[in-house]
Symmetry: none
Subunit: 208 residues, 4 copies
């Protein structure tokens, strides 16, 4: 989905097998991602043509197609490029509190058009592009979810959630609710919404 700019993680290997030919232009890469981000924000995925990205980035179309198979792949890189430094997780020893905080961060992120719009466009595009769907899961969803899963397990262990709770189902419900508002109902992600969600997990009355 993305360019192989990490294929040579091993520096010694890289030194040994020094690649020949003109190296990829980092300048072009950045310019493309920046242009994609910018244009998407005010035009949406359709209405965002590869020609536009190219001319706006001062880059040739061929260069884009050399490194990304698809308009959506560009967008995928542009998106992760923009949010990866905000993907840190809260620490502490109140698992449920940290889960709240993490949901809050996602909600806050998605309240910013510059992040929400590419994300929403990516989810939309991934509905008919299995590769993109996989990339989106691998590079954005999976990481956060794995961390959140740990929190749920800890919370169960700490007695903050009922014993026997299935962490995956809980996460489906919490993130699902978030995405439901984003993608279907259009209702806003208010700051206290994540708290409502966690609180509602105990929606069953105490079994007297």
């Amino acid at each position: 989905m993305s360019a192989e700019r990490n294929s040579d993680v091993d520096d010694s290997t890289r030194a040994a097998a020094a690649r020949r030919g003109r190296p990829r232009s980092e300048r072009a890469r950045r310019a493309v991602l920046a242009a994609a981000r910018e244009l998407l924000t005010d035009r949406g995925l359709p209405g965002l043509s590869v020609d536009d990205i190219a001319s706006h980035a001062g880059v040739s179309k061929a260069t884009i197609y050399r490194w990304w198979p698809t308009k959506a792949a560009v967008l995928m890189d542009a998106f992760t490029d923009a949010v990866e430094d905000r993907m840190t997780f809260p620490t502490g020893d109140d698992p449920l509190g940290r889960l709240r905080e993490q949901l809050g961060r996602v909600a806050r992120l998605m309240n910013e058009p510059a992040a929400r719009r590419p994300f929403v466009a990516l989810v939309a595009a991934s509905q008919h592009d299995p590769e993109l769907a996989a990339a989106l899961r691998d590079r954005f969803v999976a990481g956060r979810r794995a961390a959140a899963r740990e929190l749920v397990i800890e919370a169960v262990r700490a007695g903050q959630l009922a014993a026997g709770t299935d962490p995956d189902t809980v996460l489906d419900m919490l993130y699902g609710a978030l995405y439901y508002r984003l993608l279907v109902s259009g209702d806003p992600l208010t700051p206290d919404y994540p708290d409502h969600l966690v609180d509602t997990l105990g929606a069953r009355p105490p079994v007297a």
Copy 2:
């Protein structure tokens, strides 16, 4: 979003003000919706061109544009046309049980490609088409949700859910989880998944 084919429900009025000229061809309408459904199922939204629908339906493109503003509008009609007879609600006097049943029906519906694919395509398209988003909410989501909302309220009243529970949040979580699997995680909607969801609502330990 859809054609005005219900604007003259009153037969007497229709007879009186009978429009001049050739009446709309019901045959063409059906053929278009059928073709749209069929082509969508094996090609997805992109790869489904209006020309294709037209030629496949033995209809002229102009006829399509005369009655639908957009490819997505055709699809919207095709979808509701197909599922509207399955939108009945369970009756009975166990509110939570009926909620379970309703979620199960949605899950079963979405397990059929012929329904899931158009639905998923519509949600995707609605991300950059506000009119379509509104139509989707009004004509598919809203109805089911309103009915489900009643069930939640009844369940709270009956003590099956904790007092003070916000019905909208509960529904966001239940439907959100369903759609999350459909649109994001790709995990299957197993028959028992709805039950897991409702059960997990009581994920908080009894406040001792």
Copy 3:
């Protein structure tokens, strides 16, 4: 090579099998040919892009490709369109004189850039486009040559050329010399050149 606008020569047939759908736009056809002619004259075949023709003619590229398979095919039509009214033949009863006159007409035509440039471009393009080569022969060369052939035969019969002269060889030499200057040597086609050619036919000394 050209559009089938003569495929319905039989009017009664046409009336009977009246073609349905929007008819081809004569306006577009003319505009394309005019634009091609004009642009070729100051740019040559390369440097004359289909996009240019289209935008210059106020016509969409698709329309051009609908009716002509190739840039060269457009040019072929543009050329014959322009010269067909100048393809009349001299009459009279001095066969050799009429042959002189006809060669003179070709020479004069090819002295005008507006005719020479498309012609030269077509000959060039036909070197790697057999269909174009055939079209060029059929629609431009063959007609003139057949008429000229008659003149040579008459001239032989009238004793103006030696008995037993092969008309095809004579014509190869006369037209060949013209085209040689045009395509290879670059020497000008002076007004008296055709006369020189005919006179030189008698380059052998009288067999004593």
Copy 4:
């Protein structure tokens, strides 16, 4: 038009101003010309890209552009490289017979695809490339024509052609007829065609 590999013919000068650095690779030069010849033969000028020549010759594109300004220039070199050893002239004391023989050699050369195709492509390309046209005349046409001109003059002097015959016109007609078949009519250059041409020069009946 061609590489300057002869610009320093003077060995002493060369020795004195001996260029530093790695010398031009003769291997690369040969490989390029061979590849050009080969690819042209089965693809024609268009469809023969510089990238193709480069990769087929195992040479970098930069190397080609370092030594030839143009694809056509490469082809020009490739062609002359291939035919220059066949450009000898017949000797003897029958001028008209030697002219016949020379025309025959050209005809035989042009009957071989490996020579005809590049030649025809060069003539075509030279229609919109004045430099190439000049190079083609200087390096292929001019030499043969100058020699043929001498033969015509001798033939006139020897009484084999009518006194007062203009040698240039005669040559236009003879070579023109050859090229006419090659470039326009597509008729074959049969072995006896050159003889027909020379014989037809006397197509005028003896002035009684």
